[in-house]
């Protein structure tokens, strides 16, 4: 960690203040939580401070300002990787390998390079905007009343986790903040923990990413063991400054390059889990259970980017001349996983009706693009001689060409990360605005529906079973209550359901049921409590009869339509965001997506294995065009599908502001591209901003020329194929199926007119019937998310659950037994010892006298 940084470190003021970027939000966490606890319900706290939202806002703004300062300082400086540290304390420690006592420094360090700067800006900028959005979204929903302080506290902790991970100067600190984010994602996804589905989703996200984290941890351990012998005094073996040091890399590459490959591969699995890639993608759609700002935070600003950041962080390994050609396989695996996920997620997005679920799968798919792009870039870096000097010190003849290729490939991936983060952050916030307003409109029109009490089906069946067989709850559960504790635990409840022939459920599905039963919320269910609840469930079922009530789903696109006239700004933002994700020419993601596709094909020309990811990304482009258009058209075009959608109103300023800013950010991608963002280099050799070589106009001309008039025939054709697929075929299909003209009396913004006109034209001309597809087995499979969840659950039930029951038994008898024995023995000794304290001063003096004699004996024994 800190302290072992290189000696030529240049200290700048901005770098000194860099730890505050994460420290400020981290300090805001306890402040908001404590104040929220103390002033909960207070009027000033609620309206004046928005339950902590207005404490978080300036803190995030300060973080952003410090980040910007650091960026300007870094780019305006020499753009060289730089470290700075803060030391907690130094102490001496025995080191067996050196047989000396060495100084060990504990502290936190900051590492700045191009990748850091890019991610730092994305994270701090979006965190601020999402915070603004959250004030408008969370504080206006009565369901969140008096608990928003929990949201804001966890929010700022999450932000500090992401910012800390980006800034950290070692893989160890990266891992620590990575885990902090894991914890916060668990807390935030499960924000509505009283809903069983949210609690389940939170657990699912936590456990699925944990699978990846275990691999990451093992990978880091391997990495540590590789670099440990090459560090001074054996410390800081995971510091970037140590790991990326060319001499160390050389030493490791010579002796154990295959171990290094394994270490990086294992770390990549961690990234797969965090960024929700195949096959650890199952948690992400469920994570939509969290409030929408959380979705925006996880899918745009922070969590999923963490995995990408980790892979981008590995660049120095791939780019090292000493590991030339050694890591190409790994780069292929990265690209292949990306390609697979890109197509799979896009396909599932075809059939989703939930607005946020479409965006979730879109996130998965776009992240996969970035993985593919990174895979290609890492492959190029690993198989091309792209350094100025060759390994033997001679000048590299291919330097200019190869260097440009690597930088453009890496830059495309990172720029897509940027574009996706901006667009997806905006899309999530816009979808949040839509859901928020639909929900409000629904609440306005059907106020009574909100209080409908819903009971899980199994409980209903259990209540009816008990009623039908005329058993008392007490008698029934007493026969089941194996340990006669008076409480019912998961295992016993499972037995009860099995016994009543209702269902044989795995424990994780029992848990939500149990939560629904726990009336006083103390985490335990005793039999009187059970009696009360089951009685209530039974009564409710009698009252309801068979008259099943359809719950209104404010997130379903089936309930929307025609909102373009009701929410013009939101519709505009959504349109721009969708076009950016689709890669529509000149807008946002186009500039980076083209780069990813082109570079994947560039590799494919060289290595036929890459044809697979290359085909995937090309196919994915068309699919993206389809599902993004479908989403926009179903939501905003056509006539309202329900009475609720007809009564939606524009949203409030807190929500509009970030949408407004991000719309321009996305449209302005062309400016950024001209400024050289597409060449975002992994090393200091290339400066992204005006480096004296090119002006802005020249950059613009260069980019346009490269994108639309490439001199290479292959890439020229590829560009137009990609544009054709992504901007014509995909959207065209969607235009022919969904949407339509707005209702007669509805006015809207002028820029929707061409879209709606084209929509109307295509739809009336080619009104295809897609019912046969919708009823096919493939559509069903897609709706069931290709059965991944199902098979994972099955595997869990068969293997893990069986094992975990055994483990639970072993735990309670062996491990708990041992611990309890120790505890009991200690308590017995304690009682015995304390019984010596009789309370009589005579005994005390007697003991003191015995002690005195003992002391004399000991001293005498030493001397004699």
């Amino acid at each position: 960690m800190a302290g072992s940084g290189s000696s030529e470190t240049i200290q700048t003021t901005a770098l000194e203040y860099a730890p505050y970027i994460l420290l400020l939000p981290m300090l805001a966490f306890p402040v908001i939580l404590l104040l929220g606890k103390m002033f909960n319900g207070n009027k000033m706290w609620k309206d004046g401070l928005k339950e902590g939202g207005l404490i978080a806002l300036p803190v995030m703004a300060a973080s952003l300002l410090l980040s910007l300062w650091l960026m300007v300082d870094f780019i305006g400086g020499d753009g060289r990787a730089d470290t700075s540290g803060w030391t907690w304390f130094t102490s001496s420690m025995w080191d067996s390998s050196q047989t000396t006592v060495t100084e060990i420094t504990l502290g936190f360090g900051v590492y700045i390079d191009h990748v850091t700067v890019m991610l730092l800006f994305i994270a701090s900028f979006l965190c601020l905007l999402i915070n603004t959005f959250a004030i408008g979204y969370m504080n206006t929903d009565p369901i969140n009343d008096n608990r928003n302080h929990r949201f804001y506290a966890e929010f700022v902790l999450f932000c500090s986790g992401m910012l800390g991970m980006v800034l950290a100067d070692s893989f160890l600190w990266l891992f620590i903040f990575w885990e902090l984010m894991g914890l916060c994602s668990y807390l935030l996804i499960g924000f509505y923990y009283e809903r069983p589905s949210a609690a389940y989703a939170a657990k699912k996200a936590f456990l699925t990413t944990r699978v990846g984290d275990v691999f990451l941890m093992v990978g880091l351990a391997v990495l540590w063991s590789l670099f440990h012998p090459h560090t001074a005094a054996g410390q800081g073996a995971l510091d970037y400054a140590v790991v990326f040091e060319p001499d160390n890399l050389k030493a490791v590459a010579e002796t154990s390059s295959s171990s290094l490959k394994w270490a990086l591969g294992l770390m990549f699995i961690g990234a797969v889990g965090k960024s929700a890639q195949f096959p650890l993608h199952v948690w992400l759609p469920d994570a939509m259970e969290g409030p929408t700002p959380v979705s925006a935070l996880i899918h745009a600003a922070t969590m999923v980017n963490a995995g990408l950041y980790l892979v981008a962080r590995m660049f120095p390994f791939f780019g090292s001349e000493y590991l030339y050609n050694d890591l190409a396989d790994l780069a292929f695996i990265i690209a292949a996983i990306g390609g697979t996920t890109a197509v799979m997620a896009a396909a599932i997005a075809f059939v989703q009706h939930d607005l946020k679920k479409v965006l979730a799968y879109s996130t998965m798919s776009q992240l996969a693009y970035i993985f593919t792009g990174l895979g290609a870039a890492l492959y190029l870096a690993n198989t091309l001689h792209w350094h100025e000097y060759l390994i033997d010190g001679t000048i590299n003849p291919d330097y200019d060409t190869n260097h440009a290729i690597v930088i453009v490939a890496f830059g495309a991936a990172l720029f897509h990360l940027f574009n996706h983060a901006m667009a997806k952050g905006m899309l999530f916030m816009a979808s949040g605005a839509v859901i928020h307003e639909v929900h409000h409109a629904h609440h306005h029109l059907h106020p009574h529906d909100e209080h409908h009490e819903e009971h899980p089906e199994e409980l209903l069946m259990l209540a009816n079973y008990l009623h039908d067989t005329d058993q008392s709850v007490f008698g029934f559960f007493n026969s089941i209550d194996l340990d006669q504790s008076g409480d019912v635990d998961t295992y016993e409840f499972q037995k009860a359901l099995k016994h009543a022939d209702i269902a044989d459920l795995p424990p994780w599905e029992i848990q939500p049921l149990m939560q629904a039963l726990d009336m006083d919320g103390n985490g335990r269910i005793d039999i009187p409590e059970l009696e009360l609840t089951l009685g209530r469930v039974h009564l409710a079922s009698l009252a309801d009869g068979d008259d099943h009530h359809d719950e209104f789903d404010a997130q379903s696109m089936e309930n929307m339509g025609g909102l373009a006239s009701k929410m013009p700004l939101t519709a505009t933002a959504m349109l721009v965001g969708s076009l950016s994700i689709m890669g529509f020419p000149l807008i946002g993601g186009f500039w980076s997506k083209e780069g990813i596709i082109a570079n994947t094909w560039r590799v494919a020309l060289d290595d036929p294995r890459f044809l697979y990811p290359a085909m995937c990304v090309l196919l994915g482009a068309a699919m993206t065009g389809f599902y993004m258009s479908r989403m926009w058209l179903k939501t905003f075009a056509g006539s309202p599908k329900t009475d609720v959608a007809a009564h939606v109103h524009p949203t409030n300023t807190w929500i509009k502001t970030p949408l407004f800013i991000l719309t321009f950010m996305t449209l302005g991608a062309i400016v950024l591209a001209s400024l050289g963002f597409t060449h975002w280099a992994p090393d200091e050799s290339y400066k992204p901003f005006f480096d004296g070589k090119k002006s802005f106009v020249e950059g613009l001309v260069y980019e346009l020329n490269h994108a639309f008039a490439n001199s290479d025939v292959f890439f020229f054709a590829l560009t137009y194929i990609a544009i054709f697929l992504g901007a014509v075929v995909g959207p065209g299909l969607a235009l022919s199926l969904y949407g339509g003209r707005l209702d007669e009396d509805q006015e809207s913004m002028p820029w929707f007119a061409p879209v709606l006109a084209v929509n109307q034209f295509v739809k009336s001309r080619y009104n295809w019937d897609n019912r046969s597809f919708a009823q096919s087995g493939f559509a069903t499979a897609l709706e069931n998310r290709l059965y991944f969840d199902h098979y994972y659950d099955m595997a869990m039930l068969k293997i893990v659950a069986a094992f975990s029951f055994r483990a639970a038994e072993a735990d309670s008898s062996v491990i708990d037994g041992t611990v309890k024995t120790i505890e009991r023995t200690s308590q017995q000794i304690s009682t015995r010892l304390r019984s010596l304290t009789t309370g009589s001063a005579r005994d005390y003096i007697l003991m003191a006298a015995l002690g005195t004699l003992g002391l004399f004996a000991l001293i005498w024994g030493v001397v004699a």
Binding site: S826, S830, A848, I859
Partner: protein
């Protein structure tokens, strides 16, 4: 080093903090007795306002006045002591006209005075509003109609501090004992001050009986030393011990002194009266016993074991090495195991303080294990410095969190709670900040990073390990049998710390997960001074953990003043 005779020029300035306390003593005696009494000159009708006696005014009969006075004077004394650290320590000796050194002012003594005055200032602040006026008075503010009784309490509190200050400064055993007895006698009365409760009187009585036996034994040892060498000055005794230390007389005396100070640091088996005393005394007084009084005992032990019976003088292991090692093992284990089963939080803290005494004895033992042969002296000096630094750091931060925990209990005492663990139930709901503070104090006691308790434990353990590995380092080849056995003391400390987490965490469990007892709902009684004292303890507990460097440097300078005397 400057030498000053009593009442010579510079005498009062050199001893300014102590004289502030003396002034405080007189203020406390005079001001609350001032009234409108007039004195008639005999045979005339002229009456001169005499001020002492008569009808008292509103100001000087205020029940909070004595507590505020004591707090202010202790704060001034603390600040004056602290000031002497800035601008360089002016090392001074107070000598008799015949040239014998009586007191010595250096970083070491001043550091300990900081500990004493700090703890006592916090304790007196916490006692404002808390001492009922009569033995029968209900413990409410309305019962405090009169401040006569409070005056007694704070006078005793100030004499305690004066005695401790003298112990810190003393350069011969006689002065040291005078100070020790002054402080001890004051605390005996303070412990039994709550005579309305049965426990208070009983506890004070037991504490006095056992304490006086220990003092008697110690005094006997002292007289034996005088008999043997004809002097009580530390330097003279050190020289004499180096020459003829292996005779029966000094060794017996050493053992007896160990008993005397063993009682003060509450080392097993001389600790028996401590849990009773802590439980019977008011919580701030118990806090003083557990922090300042303990620091005084450690100070005495350091003077006797490291200066008089200096391990350096005996070439190789000290004579007291094994005895102290065994004492530390018994003490830390006994303390922790007994604390496990305690349901009275004050007794639990008392036993935990026994355990801490064990840790400190282990650290002193480690110094005894140092090798002072040719070629080892420099390294041994370094290691001894590290251990003493750790000890002083530990004693300082102990004031923050152990006294802080007692102050939290003192808040509960105002509603007759604090004697059972259950009375802490639901504190998190009733008083979130106080409960959070208590939780942090407990975590710090258990040694959880990054709190100061962690740093202090880490420093002690690393100091011991450093000592144990010194020989190995010289030979530059790790052979297990070369490791000195004091290494096991460090290991035992780690195991004991693990055990201790159990009972420390239990307090948090009760505060956060239990419901309040019946009749204990709602926030605790008001009391700005005690709350401020708790918050101060909280801030320092965290600050000295995160920013430990400053305090470590301060402790190191103090340790240097002691160890550098070799």
């Amino acid at each position: 080093m400057e030498q000053i005779e009593p009442f010579a020029e510079g005498f009062f300035i050199a001893l300014a903090p102590e004289f502030v306390l003396v002034i405080g003593l007189f203020t406390l005696m005079i001001v609350p007795n001032m009234g409108n009494a007039k004195f008639r000159i005999p045979l005339t009708q002229i009456r001169i306002p005499w001020l002492l006696g008569g009808q008292r005014g509103k100001f000087d009969s205020d029940p909070r006045l004595p507590g505020l006075f004591a707090t202010v004077f202790y704060t001034i004394a603390f600040l004056l002591t602290a000031v002497s650290f800035f601008g360089g320590m002016n090392k001074t000796q107070i000598v008799t006209p015949s040239g014998t050194v009586m007191l010595q002012i250096d970083e070491f003594s001043r550091m300990f005075q900081l500990i004493f005055f700090g703890a006592l200032a916090l304790a007196s602040a916490a006692s404002v509003n808390r001492i009922p006026a009569t033995s029968r008075a209900d413990r409410s503010l309305s019962g405090l109609y009169n401040n006569r009784r409070q005056v007694d309490f704070y006078i005793l509190l100030i004499t305690t501090g004066l005695g401790m200050a003298v112990v810190a400064l003393a350069q011969d055993l006689f002065m040291l004992f005078i100070g020790l007895e002054l402080a001890s006698f004051s605390t005996y009365v303070l412990v039994s001050f709550m005579k309305e409760t049965k426990e208070g009187t009983e506890a004070g009585m037991k504490y006095f009986i056992v304490g006086s036996v220990a003092s008697g034994v110690g005094l006997y040892g002292l007289s034996l030393l005088y008999l043997w060498s004809g002097s009580l000055g530390f330097t003279e005794l050190q020289t004499a011990f180096a020459e003829t230390g292996m005779e029966a007389l000094p060794l017996i005396a050493l053992g007896m002194l160990l008993v005397g100070f063993g009682f003060k640091v509450s080392a097993a088996p001389f600790h028996f009266a401590a849990p009773d005393a802590y439980a019977g005394a008011t919580a701030p007084v118990a806090g003083v016993l557990a922090t300042a009084s303990k620091a005084m005992g450690v100070l005495g032990l350091l003077r006797i074991l490291l200066i008089i019976a200096s391990p350096e003088a005996t070439d190789g292991s000290a004579v007291w090495l094994v005895a102290l090692g065994v004492l530390s093992v018994i003490t830390m284990t006994w303390g922790n195991l007994a604390a496990l089963g305690s349901t009275n939080p004050k007794r639990m803290l008392a036993y935990s303080s026994v355990a801490h005494a064990g840790y400190m004895l282990a650290a002193i033992t480690a110094i005894g294990a140092l090798n002072w042969e040719e070629g080892h002296v420099d390294m041994s000096n370094d290691a001894a410095l590290a251990v003493v630094t750790a000890l002083i750091f530990h004693l300082t931060v102990l004031v923050c969190f152990k006294l802080g925990a007692f102050l939290v209990l003192s808040m509960l005492e105002s509603e007759k709670g604090g004697h059972t663990l259950e009375s802490l139930g639901g504190l998190a709901k009733r008083e979130p900040i106080i409960a959070a503070a208590m939780f942090i104090f407990m975590m710090s006691l258990a040694g959880v990073p990054p709190l100061s308790g962690f740093v202090s434990k880490l420093l002690v353990i690393m100091g011991i390990v450093k000592v144990a590995l010194l020989d190995v380092t010289v030979n530059s080849d790790l052979v297990f049998s070369d490791i000195h056995w004091v290494w096991y003391l460090a290991l035992l400390m780690v195991i004991n710390s693990a055990i201790s987490v159990f009972y420390y965490l239990r307090v948090g469990l009760v505060m956060y997960f239990n419901d309040p007892e019946e009749g204990r709902e709602g926030p605790l009684a008001r009391g700005t001074p005690v709350r401020m004292a708790i918050v101060l303890c909280l801030i320092t507990t965290v600050f000295f953990g995160v920013g430990a460097g400053q305090l470590i440097a301060l402790a190191e300078s103090a340790a240097n003043a002691l160890v550098g005397a070799w």
